[in-house]
Symmetry: C2
Subunit: 325 residues, 2 copies
Amino acid sequence: MSYANYRARTCAKQKSAYESSLFAGAILELPFSFYVGIDGGGTNCRARLYDAKGNVLVEGQSGPANVRLGFDVAWHNIIEATNQCLVKNGLEADNFSRVAIGIGAAGVSSKQVCSAFQECAPNFGYINISSDAHIACLAAFDGKDGGIIISGTGSCGYAILGNKAHQIGGHGFELSDHGSSAALGRAALKACLLAYDGIGPCTDLTNFLLSEFGGKPSDVVAWVKTAKPKDYGKFAPIIMDFADKGDEVARNLAATAAQDLERIIYRLNQLGAEKICMVGGMAQRLAQWLAPWTKPILAAPKFDPTYGAYLLAKGANNGFNGKGK
Amino acid sequence: MSYANYRARTCAKQKSAYESSLFAGAILELPFSFYVGIDGGGTNCRARLYDAKGNVLVEGQSGPANVRLGFDVAWHNIIEATNQCLVKNGLEADNFSRVAIGIGAAGVSSKQVCSAFQECAPNFGYINISSDAHIACLAAFDGKDGGIIISGTGSCGYAILGNKAHQIGGHGFELSDHGSSAALGRAALKACLLAYDGIGPCTDLTNFLLSEFGGKPSDVVAWVKTAKPKDYGKFAPIIMDFADKGDEVARNLAATAAQDLERIIYRLNQLGAEKICMVGGMAQRLAQWLAPWTKPILAAPKFDPTYGAYLLAKGANNGFNGKGK
């Protein structure tokens, strides 16, 4: 069944089901048979089905569920991944009324976006939506207080402290996302052009990067016209390899990225996050460059983000109920 | 007459006229009656008509002549501004065979672009094309050796030294153009978001900038999705005003922009440019922030860029004849 059909059929039902079950704070006590946790990222959407006792039953996976790609795309993939779980578990597809669902989706950046996205939902028995950062933070500390830094293609600091959510950074590639693979890649290309012009250090890294563009700065300039953050981010592992080998420019880039993350760690800690987990594809490599004072604060996440989405399905605070930022 | 008609009528003639008159280095001795200098910028195109003795006769002006807007647009506006000159001087429009024209156009960044652009020219008696930076440098030193830094919406260092042209920086807004109004505006918005997140200093400037977006970082993030360099650049005069008043963040931004320009000054000087002229809308304001060692090197330009285009029309080296970069 298409997303449009879902909506036509279920919109009226959904609202009343949602309104009757909405609350904030404590864990939901409604007797649902099944709980689904959704980790909706920009590349794919992961779903995990739990029973009422919290046992993991099955998992599903589909395409991207970043709401910036459009609510239709996101819902289509969330429904697809959820139905995979239901069918794998011997249940009927589309039978959502017995299911409590928790969704953490990339791009859910405000209460307004959250509400608008939820308006388009099919008739789940209960639904609770937040951002990908929120479920990662819920999961990392099993619903208790703590902070995370996501360092992947982009970056973002996030903390849940006394039922209040705090976001630091993560305002996008153009002006923010310091300490991400995309920011690192862009900084390296800048350094590469400075080296070419003789106004910055010329090293193995800058020579390598320029050689990737046939030795022609004009090809670098042409490339950036259409480059996306993930394109810049592809250079990040190479830059970190050069840094490990002692390349001066690469070391400076890695150190600057680490300092950017340190500022976020300091701020989250200052706000009250006693422990902070580094997550995302760049976390491991940049963590090695962090100053010693960060070590006692850093912790390993307890669970993966899909588990945080399950906590949302169980009624955990979604950060958008007036108590959040 | 449309540009397309020009081309159909004149293309064959043009090539032979051009090929017979092409040479490099010294000043042209062909006995033209009129010389036109064209300063083709991204906002408008200025033309100036000179007689064979070098007297200024009249001027014309039309729309943008940045070749990145398309060769048709650029040629249309160059022809328009040139014909204004001819008609004002009592001559016949489109009668270009008696005219030697020199053109400095924004976006003429390589010999390839220069040649392709020239292929589309109508039948001038003589034609010589280069970049906007090249004519600004020719004009600043009356055709002799020297360097310039253009600091406007973008930035670029340029020097003509012993018949060889050198460009430093100016690789575009995404990765380069340090010390320009656009780069300054972007850096200020970054500082504004850092202040909002509590991970950078919060000052009158950062408060002012955030208030320009209704106090909402999400509105800053939405704005940058479509912002052009000139949009970022609009904040530059305000930032410099705050810097003059002693605002900490604004002072740091101005000092960083000045340091970026100092690196270009140092490099051009190292390459052999004994004197360097600062030109463009940001030049005056940022020059005040430069380190004292730059003062003996800096000079005022002798002439405006249109005069540099006239020197091209007289046969000055265009920087694209194999001796240039």
